[in-house]
Symmetry: C2
Subunit: 343 residues, 2 copies
């Protein structure tokens, strides 16, 4: 059966749309009262690993905010976990990986087989959500990018500088590339399994790519993003989101990726100029603007779409929605896109 709302897929194919599709990064989660109720009852990995809970959380913003796509509730660190690393998640504190990757032996010890089995809770959640969505809107699957996962696997936690991860890459590039390739191989299998389980679109989050210089991005991030896009695109359109890496827009624009996410540190005009016309741009509303007022949000969203145009564009935030956003403000963001009409 075909999708009732396939705006997202049309936008990613560059087809004509009456208005851009809209969804919000981190739309399933923390700002929604119904999510907070579940968070108070189940710990993080229970929510992620129980298909019924992940499905329920995924559907909340579709039902309550009216987005044009669902994105599966999960976490980028399920990959390091499936590869055998311990990942601890303390509510509101960020992740902790107590045993970090330091040498060849640590890399050799990573598990790369039966990843689909080890992550069957994600594919089960996708299948269940696909069924529950009943073709209302497309379902987005996702994974963390190899560079961003390396950051956590080497640094062991969030960081302002990720200087341990960088030191590892800069002083032991062969080891870094071995690790990045292992993550890439596993991620490709994982994303293909997500497509098979029902994901219509796949997004790759390179949350920390902007901490790399253009040269280092080309060395440690871009080749692996491109590998993933090339391998996975035949199965579902891929959106790459190398946050902060505006300098990579031209290269990514020429890749097999169907879409590229951008944050708000670049104008729509400059982003389009750099990315070219063969890729769909997704973004780039500053989530802090969701703290203003529904009226102001609608005004600024309209200006954003005016600037990006309606072709090859997906309205989204430039980063995840933050916990303090009132639900009616999130709804104003979505409604503004839905009410947009070309002059």
């Amino acid at each position: 059966m075909s999708l009732q709302n396939d705006l997202l897929l049309k936008a990613l194919r560059g087809e004509d749309v009456s208005r851009p599709p809209v969804w919000m990064m981190r739309q399933a989660g923390r700002y929604l009262p119904d999510y907070i109720k579940l968070r108070n009852r189940y710990d993080f990995f229970t929510r992620v690993q129980t298909p019924e809970l992940a499905c329920e959380i995924t559907l909340q913003p579709v039902d309550q905010v009216g987005v044009d796509a669902a994105i599966i509730f999960s976490d980028i660190l399920v990959i390091p976990q499936a590869m055998g690393m311990t990942v601890l998640m303390e509510e509101g504190k960020g992740p902790l990986l107590p045993e970090v990757i330091k040498n060849q032996a640590d890399i050799d010890a990573l598990i790369t087989t039966e990843v689909e089995d080890r992550l069957s809770y994600v594919t089960a959640a996708l299948s269940l959500t696909k069924k529950e969505l009943n073709n209302r809107v497309p379902l987005i699957g996702f994974a963390g990018a190899p560079w961003t996962l390396l950051c956590y696997m080497v640094e062991g936690k969030g960081s302002k500088t990720f200087e341990k991860a960088k030191q590892f890459c800069f002083t032991q590039p062969e080891l870094a590339h071995a690790l990045l390739q292992k993550i890439t191989d596993v991620t490709i299998l994982y994303l293909k399994a997500q497509a098979k389980a029902g994901a219509d679109v796949l997004q790759v989050f390179d949350s920390w790519s902007g901490m790399l210089s253009p040269h280092d991005f080309k060395t440690f991030a871009q080749p692996y993003l491109i590998q993933i896009a090339d391998a996975v695109s035949p199965h579902a359109p891929v959106i790459l989101f190398p946050k902060g890496s505006w300098y990579a827009l031209t290269d990514i624009g020429n890749s097999s990726a169907a879409g590229i996410g951008i944050d708000w540190s670049i104008t729509p005009e400059m982003a389009r100029k750099m990315a070219g016309n063969n890729i769909t741009i997704q973004g780039n509303f500053d989530p802090a603007k969701l703290l203003t007022s529904p009226t102001q949000i609608k005004k600024e969203v309209t200006e954003m779409i005016d600037a990006f145009g309606t072709t090859r564009y997906i309205a989204n935030l430039g980063h995840g929605i933050t916990p303090n956003v009132p639900v009616d403000h999130a709804k104003a963001f979505v409604d503004a896109v839905k009410e947009y009409s070309r002059k």
Copy 2:
């Protein structure tokens, strides 16, 4: 008496130099064992407010690392403090301002008179350091940019998003501009006093400007940076460092500022192209590279100077040096610039 080493001033005037000048942001501090000894004996504000201590810390990297300029040991938050706000500094934890700016009354209550008197410990430290330097190298004074100071004054502490500060600006722009103008007025007086006390160059740190979109930067950051550059430039050359705001390079390049600092998220070629040839570019080595090895540091520094060229360029990091950098690695950075010779 004239300076024995005036490379920095020459570079800021666009004059021909045999090699670029070099200094490092945060060069006075945390990675130096002699600094750590003082830190263990005196608390933060004692170190900042005692001219003899500030002078001693300022001279350490000149004597021990061989940089081409001294930058006075101080903090950007001395301005909110001089304006009457409480600023707490817990070692290794970042600043805390327990009573934040929320409304017009809070702004009205800020002190803007006798700022030079209230900050006489900084001018005393500059005079003493100028004397102790004995014209070996230029002395750099500095201040925080109005937008970055607003971030702390409204948010009350460091933040990943500074969303309270942004919310304040986006929802109450008149109040935000009133606050930014007050900070600007005080900062101009403060920087002029620094020049009078012996600062040869003045740098303005806009550490959080990159969190703003190009449009919001032009609204809440750039006008105040330009006001400061215009008012202070007749007294000493000004370097503006709007970290992360690569998109502003062209506008700043056309301003009265003598120099612009950049981080490593832009190539030297792109930075020069955007900034034009009428401003000196300062940067942009990734501080994490200082964790590699002296050999690798020297190789990459040479490549960086090759790319920037020796004209209208100041070799520096793209952000502050981090505590884990070995002193001989910092020295390798400086030595590599000093040993650079044009092919």
